[in-house]
């Protein structure tokens, strides 16, 4: 196994945006607008609002920042 761990900038942006927007209770549309990759933005935009809201509840409960 290589020491070179594959990474992906667009996916990293998606994951960071999801956590940030969910943590402050923002909408999927808000998260989608913050993304540069159109396909990933479309995926976020397609989220069922109920599922997005539950994800926000989960992040509010379990999310921990580096400084926490």
């Amino acid at each position: 196994m290589s020491e070179d761990w594959p990474e992906d900038a667009a996916l990293a942006e998606l994951q960071a945006v999801m956590f940030e927007v969910l943590a402050r209770g923002g909408s999927a549309e808000e998260a989608a607008r913050a993304l540069h990759d159109p396909a990933l933005a479309a995926w976020v935009r397609s989220a069922d609002p109920r599922a997005w809201e539950v994800a926000a509840l989960l992040v509010a409960k379990w999310g921990r920042r580096e400084e926490d």
């Binding site: 594959p6 956590f19 539950v54 921990r64 920042r65 580096e66």
Partner: protein, 292 residues
């Protein structure tokens, strides 16, 4: 079909251990009565503390110890020190004690500046697949244990829910990994997206080695009318009848199940009876399956 199934070994009935004294005290009479045949230990618990070493060692020596992880975050897009430390700790945990299998969650729970969170879904793309396959290979190499993934309760859409099985199959294929099929998570998706038996059929059922069963709860999303509840995997109640009802179909369609594991949060338990009721129901379903 029934003839072929009859030759398989009866799955074990197990319990996912919580590390606190209250849970372990409730466990003792159930172990003495033989209601628990295997245990699942969340290896993250013992990264900081030893846990119930005597019980874990006993289960390991009889090949009835299954490992579970919650902190690896196999679909995180960025390498992190947290992930590397988790992998090193998992390597040490599996060196110290023999686990029959080790599962993690399908999703990501870490993205800087967040060091942890709930497992969240990702879209099924070639880039996510490439990262997830790499992280699973690293986990398999580090631990030397057969590795697998557990299906998520949360999906962002009906279409995503129906693709999770195909996604998991592709992630697991390079390491010949197993599926830890959580039937309560499956029930959550069925309820939340009005899905039927097609959801179970969408999973790679020949990869299933472990079934999870648990209870959960409902949330009332703010934008839906009263009564349109969203099911969540909260592990804080008894197993609902809908999950027990899924079990015979899952056992019939998944020919390689080794273990049925009950999950329940410690703080939701008052007496051993709260666990015993669900464990007895699992044994009874297996008895009925054997009698067919």
């Amino acid at each position: 079909m029934r003839t072929a199934e009859a030759s398989r070994q009866r799955p074990l009935v197990g319990l996912s251990l919580m590390p606190d004294a209250h849970f372990l005290a409730l466990l003792r009479p159930l172990l003495e009565r033989g209601a628990i045949e295997a245990v699942e230990w969340t290896i993250d618990f013992s990264f900081e503390e030893e846990g119930p070493a005597e019980l874990l060692d006993f289960c390991a020596e009889s090949d009835r110890l299954f490992g579970h992880g919650v902190g690896y975050s196999p679909l995180s897009a960025r390498r992190s020190q947290h992930q590397e430390r988790w992998l090193a700790a998992a390597k040490e945990a599996t060196r110290r004690r023999r686990y029959r299998r080790l599962s993690e969650h399908f999703g990501f729970l870490r993205a800087p500046p967040f060091r942890s969170g709930p497992p969240l879904p990702m879209p099924f793309t070639k880039d996510v697949l490439r990262i997830g396959q790499d992280r699973l290979k690293r986990l398999a190499d580090a631990t030397g244990v057969p590795v697998g993934l557990e299906n998520l309760a949360l999906a962002f859409s009906r279409e995503d829910a129906l693709r999770h099985g195909e996604f998991l199959d592709a992630l697991l294929e390079p390491v010949d990994g197993f599926l830890c099929l959580d039937l309560h998570n499956l029930y959550c998706q069925q309820h939340n997206f009005a899905l039927g038996p097609e959801l179970l059929a969408s999973y790679p059922l020949d990869r299933v080695r472990v079934l999870h069963v648990s209870g959960g709860s409902f949330s009332q999303p703010s934008m839906t009318e009263a009564g349109q509840l969203f099911r969540r995997d909260t592990h804080d109640s008894e197993v609902p009848r809908e999950v027990f009802a899924l079990l015979p179909a899952a056992l019939a369609a998944a020919p390689n199940v080794e273990l049925i594991m009950l999950e329940r949060l410690s703080e939701s338990l008052e007496s051993p009876h709260d666990l015993e009721r669900d464990l007895e129901a699992l044994h009874a379903i297996l008895d009925e399956e054997e009698a067919l």
